[in-house]
């Protein structure tokens, strides 16, 4: 079904700051999150977790626990009827670890724990207290194994193995040109090492599911689940039943940010097992402590960058070597590092780029998807490096970036020509430069460095390009179902999930735009895997472009049928008819609209009486992408978005305390669907990015996390976040049905380098390891933990010089 050009060019509803379709219940307290639900006859499920970060299980005795008061079932790995392993890409994560002989496939051992968050047994009991008491009665014999915690060490041949198949999870390479040639004509060469921390998603709602047994050996699960279809695949595989026997829905989700994927899949599998074993509904809720222990994190990266610059200041060669800590299980590591390898060199023209990204297993908490998905780490490195090169070239960092950024038709390091959409980074940088007064401030603050001062001011910039949606990582299609009721109200459901980011509102607004009804006529149903086709995961900022495009498709089908009837009623040809604001009328090419007396509601009623199908399933398949594994060349993503951040900071010269005073964020996300939602995405993404740059690190020592709750793991409060100025550069993209693209993740990937570059502008000190703690800012290194890690510490060496190159 074609969508008329007028939808794309003259939206009447898109872009408006409409309130959320799911907002009301959230301010009245009526919104039901999973933990607000209970089932009649439900029992509580709890998990016994590992006592060692790496150990073989030699014995497991649950008999006493079985007899404890209130206990209904105790399960171990032996009780899993189907596949005991889960994993979105590599099936390497046991739903429960067990003793030898409990099962497991080739190359996997089920009989060991690999991180402290691993589960060993499940208990279901009448009350939560009884269930937790019974955990203490389970006896587990462990034979501790050597622990590996540094991913670079894990890749050495002598390292202990976390999985039998080796510690290398994945290796992606990009081979573009030949850096050996490029470095020949380099006038200056910069070599820098960067490191980024492991961080916690810190969604405010802890994980929760309720599973109910249904006939045919299946289950129905409701939970705080981000990616319902991947969870369904895993639950069906663990139970050994077909997909149609497993129905997964989400309740209102209290945030996810990429975080309620694998951890929820495992929890749903465990609840499903207990539900099948007990024949009763089972509720499982993590405490915050359990959540922090068990949930996966953002990958810590170690990044070695080498860049050559020719006499004119252009990048002529880049060589990057990057290692990511995958923790105990692969989770999304293969895909996360894919995005890293594609985007590692940043949005800059360079003829010779070689990049290697490897992810390694360790006995740390596993790492997976988190807002940004492999980009915040590489964006930090490249944006700090380019900033330093600019200053060294005698240019301010904004002007330098504008010289070297991609423009229409440029070729990326994967050999992809950027075409078919506006490559707007220069426009974005120009806009943010004007809004923030960047260039003038940057020179002034730099000059002020010469004089002693108690407080120093600095301004910093960072920018990025980002591939939209999944790219060559996976199948990329989504469904939205639109139904118009006989009274003209509308029900929309979609395969994309709302975790709080506003997908329901954005998708509903796309449907309402095309149908011509106000947004308050639309109700959005929570996603249900049995009622909508598998639409892939709601990740990679793909909700608005994929779900929204499918919604536009569905709405266009219904509208076309309705307009036939309207043409008959009004005696006008279909091509003259327009529906807008819930009224049917005639419109001209210039976007004029003359309403008739026919309302959308009356038209819907008439269609219903004539037996017209007032419902349609919309489908959107992303344009093609391609990838050559060996060379890392191809159309990595079907289109890109562009963004820039500027931070202005004040640094206390005495304490190293950094205060972010003001912040600017400019994005080209294609057509803005909902201004209120879009601004909210930017605000939240920036706040999270500031936490990444200045505050947050989920520290782990020998496999043992040092934080277990928000008293130890600090995220930004209202006092830490500055006033933010948000602007959009709107270049509608033909890739999105209504010109829309993506926004959720680009907002989060460049705040940290903007702040760190601002600190450099204020102090002259380049910080290459975040978070930029007080001591980093004051003396350029960590006091709480050595800048060297793992084996280098063990060797007692000042072995590696973190800063090499000419001016060190």
């Amino acid at each position: 079904m074609m969508i008329g050009e007028k939808d794309k060019d003259r939206p009447w509803l898109l872009g408006r700051p409409e309130p959320r379709v799911d907002g009301l219940g959230k301010v009245t307290g009526e919104a039901r999150f999973t933990d607000d639900l209970d089932e009649v006859g439900q029992v509580w499920g709890v998990v016994l977790r590992a006592a060692h970060p790496h150990a073989r299980i030699v014995s497991l005795d649950v008999e006493e626990a079985r007899l404890a008061p209130g206990v209904v079932a105790v399960l171990t790995a032996r009780d899993i009827p189907g596949n005991p392993f889960v994993g979105g890409v590599v099936q390497d994560q046991p739903v429960l670890a067990g003793t030898a002989g409990a099962g497991g496939g080739a190359g996997h051992d089920l009989d060991r724990v690999r991180m402290l968050g691993d589960g060993v047994a499940l208990v279901a009991a009448e009350t939560e207290a009884q269930a937790r008491d019974a955990l203490g009665l389970i006896r587990v014999g462990y034979e501790p194994l050597p622990v590996v915690t540094d991913p670079r060490e894990a890749l050495r041949p002598e390292s202990p193995l976390v999985h039998d198949r080796g510690n290398l999870v994945v290796h992606h390479g990009v081979r573009h040109g030949d850096p050996a040639v490029g470095f020949e004509y380099a006038h200056r060469v910069y070599e820098r090492a960067y490191a980024t921390p492991r961080i916690e998603h810190a969604y405010l709602e802890p994980e929760c599911v309720i599973a109910r047994p249904v006939e045919g050996g299946g289950v129905e699960v409701v939970g705080s689940i981000q990616n319902l279809f991947s969870t369904r695949r895993a639950v069906a595989s663990v139970l050994g039943v077909p997909l149609n026997r497993v129905r997964i829905r989400h309740a209102v989700l209290g945030g996810s940010f990429g975080g309620k994927d694998d951890v929820m899949t495992v929890m749903a599998c465990r609840a499903a097992l207990l539900a099948r074993a007990t024949g009763r509904p089972v509720k499982m809720v993590n405490t915050r402590e359990e959540s922090m222990l068990e949930s996966y994190k953002r990958h810590p990266y170690f990044l070695d960058y080498r860049a050559g610059v020719d006499r004119d200041g252009n990048l002529c060669a880049m060589r990057m070597d990057i290692v990511a800590d995958a923790g105990a299980y692969a989770s999304m590591s293969p895909f996360v590092t894919y995005r890293s390898v594609v985007q590692a060199a940043g949005p800059y023209r360079c003829p010779h780029v070689w990049t290697d990204v490897r992810a390694a297993y360790t006995n740390n908490p596993y790492t997976g998807a988190m807002r940004g998905f492999g980009s915040p780490q590489v964006n930090f490195a490249i944006e700090c490096l380019v900033d330093e090169i600019a200053e060294d070239q005698g240019l301010d960092p904004l002007t330098y970036r504008r010289r070297i950024v991609f423009r229409d038709g440029d070729v990326t390091p994967t050999g992809q020509r950027l075409a078919g959409h506006r490559v707007s980074l220069d426009e974005v940088l120009a806009r943010i430069g004007d809004a923030s007064g960047f260039v003038d401030k940057w020179w002034r603050y730099r000059a002020a460095r010469e004089a002693p001062a108690a407080f120093r001011r600095g301004i910093g910039v960072a920018c990025s390009y980002r591939g939209v949606s999944l790219g060559a990582e996976g199948v990329d299609a989504a469904a939205t179902f639109v139904q118009v009721q006989p009274d003209g109200s509308v029900i929309v459901s979609s395969g994309v999930t709302d975790m709080g980011q506003g997908a329901q509102t954005a998708v509903a607004q796309c449907a309402a735009e095309v149908l011509g009804v106000p947004l308050d006529r639309v109700v959005f149903l929570n996603t249900d895997t049995s009622r909508i086709p598998d639409s892939g995961p709601t990740v990679a900022s793909r909700g608005t472009i994929m779900g929204g495009s499918a919604a536009a498709d569905a709405a266009a089908q219904v509208r076309a049928r309705m307009l036939e009837v309207a043409a008959d009623l009004l005696g006008q040809p279909v091509k003259n008819l327009v529906i807008r604001e819930g009224l049917v009328g005639t419109g001209g090419a210039e976007g004029s609209f003359v309403p008739s007396r026919l309302t959308f509601a009356d038209l819907a009623g008439e269609c219903f009486r004539r037996g017209v199908a007032l419902a349609a399933l919309g489908w959107f398949r992303a344009p093609p992408t391609s990838w050559h594994e060996e060379t890392g060349q191809g159309i990595a993503y079907f289109t890109y978005v562009y963004g820039a951040n500027v931070a202005e900071v004040v640094v206390d010269s005495g304490t190293g305390r950094v205060r972010v005073e003001e912040f600017w964020s400019v994005h080209d996300c294609g057509r803005v669907v909902n201004r209120l939602g879009a601004e909210g995405q930017v605000h939240g993404g920036v706040a999270m990015g500031l936490g990444y740059g200045l505050l947050e690190e989920f520290e782990v020592e020998q496999g043992v996390p040092k934080a277990s709750n928000f008293d130890e793991y600090l995220i930004p409060t209202a006092m830490d976040v500055p006033r933010m100025h948000v602007e959009f550069v709107e270049n509608p993209d033909p890739a999105g049905r209504l010109g829309q693209k993506s926004l959720g993740e680009p907002t989060n990937e460049i705040a940290a380098p903007a702040v760190v570059n601002a600190i450099a502008n204020a102090t002259g000190r380049r910080i290459r390891e975040i978070p930029a703690t007080l001591e980093q800012v004051l003396i350029g290194r960590r006091l709480t933990r050595s800048g060297l890690r793992g084996s280098e510490v063990a060797r007692g060496g000042e072995a590696s010089c973190k800063v090499r190159g000419e001016e060190g």
Partner: protein, 163 residues
């Protein structure tokens, strides 16, 4: 307060204007009583150690973390939760402002934010932006970056003052 068998304690408190009599365990928190016994699930559980503010309610006019208050301590008190904000179907100005300003995303922090803001405006009807930030500094939000929340509270204050 009379002692009951099995260590239960009788308490009486007013919740959203309704008097409630309950027999509670001495260790039970106000949060558990609100969510578990009274089924007022609008008040959220985010950390249970007084760090996230998701469980904030107004107790005798002050915003408190209900996970840190024992139910027995609330004996005789007046408690306002998010469910008590709207009156006769009409949203409270704070609730309206939160919706209009996009101060709600996932909504998990929202009830606590609303209650902290409610307590603030009762004490300081025309707060400065800084005062709003201070008042909600104990309420974590991972979604909004706080800006829309601050704007919403200021707008609600402005509306109340102009009417």
């Amino acid at each position: 307060m009379k002692q009951l068998p099995e260590d239960l304690v009788s308490i009486r408190l007013t919740v959203n204007g309704v008097v409630r009599s309950l027999d509670v365990h001495p260790g039970e928190t106000l949060l558990e009583v609100l969510r578990g016994r009274l089924r007022l699930t609008g008040t959220k559980r985010g950390c249970e150690v007084g760090e996230c503010g998701a469980c904030t309610v107004v107790l005798d006019g002050r915003a408190v973390n209900s996970c840190l208050v024992l139910a027995v301590q609330a004996d005789g008190a007046e408690v306002l939760t998010v469910e008590g904000l709207a009156r006769e179907g009409a949203l409270h100005p704070l609730q309206r402002a939160f919706l209009e300003h996009g101060a709600v995303q996932c909504g998990f922090c929202t009830p606590g934010m609303l209650m902290s803001a409610h307590a603030l405006l009762a004490q300081d009807p025309s707060p400065t932006p800084d005062a709003v930030r201070r008042a909600i500094a104990g309420n974590l939000c991972r979604c909004t970056g706080y800006q829309a929340i601050v704007d919403a509270v200021l707008a609600a204050a402005g509306e109340a003052n102009s009417s």
